[in-house]
């Protein structure tokens, strides 16, 4: 069921290792700043590179301030007629860890601060929303939140949707990925022959989607989902699930492969993920649009990745710039186009990929809004 509506991204805000605003994020990427830091506190006897937010305020405060900023810059007086959709993989695990590691007991854990829902729970103390829902599909969580936002706008169920992708650093994720032997000791270099692995990171990404466009809107014009049904942590080596998600997204957007100008890759920097995604992209896009991973700046922000990479994709369209890869010295593919410099281009459509544990895949298509 579709009625004749569209989903426009009208306002957004981002906080990550690459900056305390969306503008800082985009500038960090275009200027190829070093945003990933080396840490020796999370993993015993080992240094790992992580993406840490550089701000004295707490994650909760930054989250509330971010939603306030988006509200202030929007056409809305408040969020009372807005659906809140949260995408998170970690939720309140960091809070749980601090209590459990201190007490060595579950006794003083507040379950409302532990779950994925803790993000919505805290935001609802500050703002009144019409309704809310939280998605947790690991690293596709906020990409799926954006997909659902488009769905409810196009079906005419809501006029305003606030998507919040948020995940903070915690021992569970950093040590967990270390246990899988996929962490890099240096800033990640997706699609490079000499890559070491990924960087676990934290971020908050907030987007207001509405069914009416405003000045500088970008349209979320396609969403594609798929399941690999292959393996819990390894994507299909040929990228079959990724292919299905991208094909479904382009079909939903009613555009052809040749119309895509830039692909913001999931590109974690692990061999399995990069090869699978590269195989999918190379087999679908014979026109070789630019492919790049911005995780070399933000790190892998897990449940927030889909939303923060959506913001980067939107800004590429607004500024008509293809953003560069960082430290990609020896690309391991010659059938894919990469750029190591920010390139001014005519951009009409950008695809953003998100893939997750369990073979959960989501691709989003963003389109430049024409005057009419």
């Amino acid at each position: 069921m579709k009625i004749n509506k569209k989903a426009y991204i009208n306002n957004f805000h981002a906080i990550s290792s690459a900056g305390n605003s969306a503008e800082e994020l985009f500038e960090s990427i275009c200027e190829k700043k070093d945003c990933i830091s080396i840490d020796n506190t999370y993993v015993k006897d080992r240094e790992v590179a992580i993406g840490k937010i550089k701000n004295d305020k707490s994650f909760k405060e930054l989250l509330k301030e971010g939603c306030k900023k988006v509200l202030d810059e929007s056409s809305l007086d408040d969020y009372s007629d807005t659906l809140l959709i949260v995408g998170s993989s970690v939720g309140g695990m960091g809070v749980t860890e601090s209590v459990y590691f201190k007490d060595k007991s579950y006794e003083n854990i507040d379950y409302k601060e532990h779950t994925i829902d803790s993000i919505a729970y805290n935001l609802k103390k500050e703002f009144t929303f019409y309704d809310d829902v939280s998605f947790s599909t690991a690293c596709t969580s906020s990409a799926n939140a954006l997909g659902y936002a488009k769905e409810v706008l196009l079906k005419g169920i809501y006029k305003n949707v606030l998507v919040v992708g948020a995940d903070s650093l915690c021992s569970t994720t950093v040590c967990g990925f270390a246990a899988l032997s996929v962490l890099s000791s240096k800033p990640c270099t997706p699609f490079d022959k000499n890559r070491e692995g990924m960087n676990v990171s934290e971020a908050i990404a907030i987007l207001l989607l509405q069914d009416e466009k405003t000045e500088n809107s970008v349209e979320l014009c396609g969403v594609g989902y798929s399941s690999d049904s292959h393996h819990m942590t390894q994507p299909h080596p040929d990228g079959l699930g990724a292919r299905n998600a991208i094909e479904n997204a382009l079909s939903d957007a009613s555009i052809t492969f040749e119309q895509v100008d830039y692909i913001n890759a999931h590109g974690t920097g692990t061999i399995a993920n990069d090869n699978s995604e590269a195989n999918a992209v190379a087999s679908l896009f014979t026109n070789k649009p630019y492919l790049g991973s911005t995780k070399s700046f933000t790190g892998h922000t897990l449940g927030a990745a889909g939303a923060i990479e959506a913001i980067i994709s939107v800004m590429c369209l607004q500024k008509q710039i293809v953003v560069p890869c960082k430290n990609l010295e020896t690309p391991n593919r010659d059938d894919i186009s990469f750029t190591n410099e920010a390139l001014p281009c005519d951009l009409n459509y950008v695809v953003s990929n998100s893939f997750a544990f369990g073979g959960n895949n989501t691709s989003l298509v963003f389109g430049k809004c024409n005057e009419n």
Binding site: S89, D131, S136
Partner: protein, 213 residues
Amino acid sequence: MKINLEILSATHLVADEEIGDLRTKELVPKMVFRRRLTRAAKLVVEAVDKVGFENGRIVYGSAFGELKASANILSAILNDQMISPTDFQNSVYNTAVSYLSILKNNKNEILTISSGDKTAEKILKVGAIKALDGDEILLLASETMNIENIEQINKCIDTLENVVALKVRVTEEKANINILNENNSKYPESISQMIEIAKNYDENKQNVIEIQI
């Protein structure tokens, strides 16, 4: 806005500690795969078999996710031990339905919701909105809380293992099952609403619920 859903099939399983008589060995013949399944994954496989859902879109939910895997990870970190890679891969909230998708070769959209005590309500709403597209959708929820020392935090839930499945599609028919908004049951509040719907399901008549969006 309201959307009416016909419940085409429903099942629920609950137990104070552990749901018995699972047919996991029969339903998941490959031992290597079966051994990796979390408790929630085993319950989900069982429930899906009972409602006869093979392939299609799934909206799954759990407020607390994979508690055992998370507890094992926390304990390992606290005690300076190595984290089990299997525990980590099994700790994400979409673990149960991911194993299900591998088992059933289901390549469709599979969403996982975690909205605290309102998880069931949100599964029903999201499921109803998705069902407007006309397909049959599986609504699925589980809570598996039977872990060591759970009594330190659980003061009110009697049933530590719970799973519920509703196979639905949109209908124009009038609702004939009331949805309770208050939780007066012994089940986890997060999914009790769906368990109550499953309990009221009568396979000898048409079963319709009204979802207020």
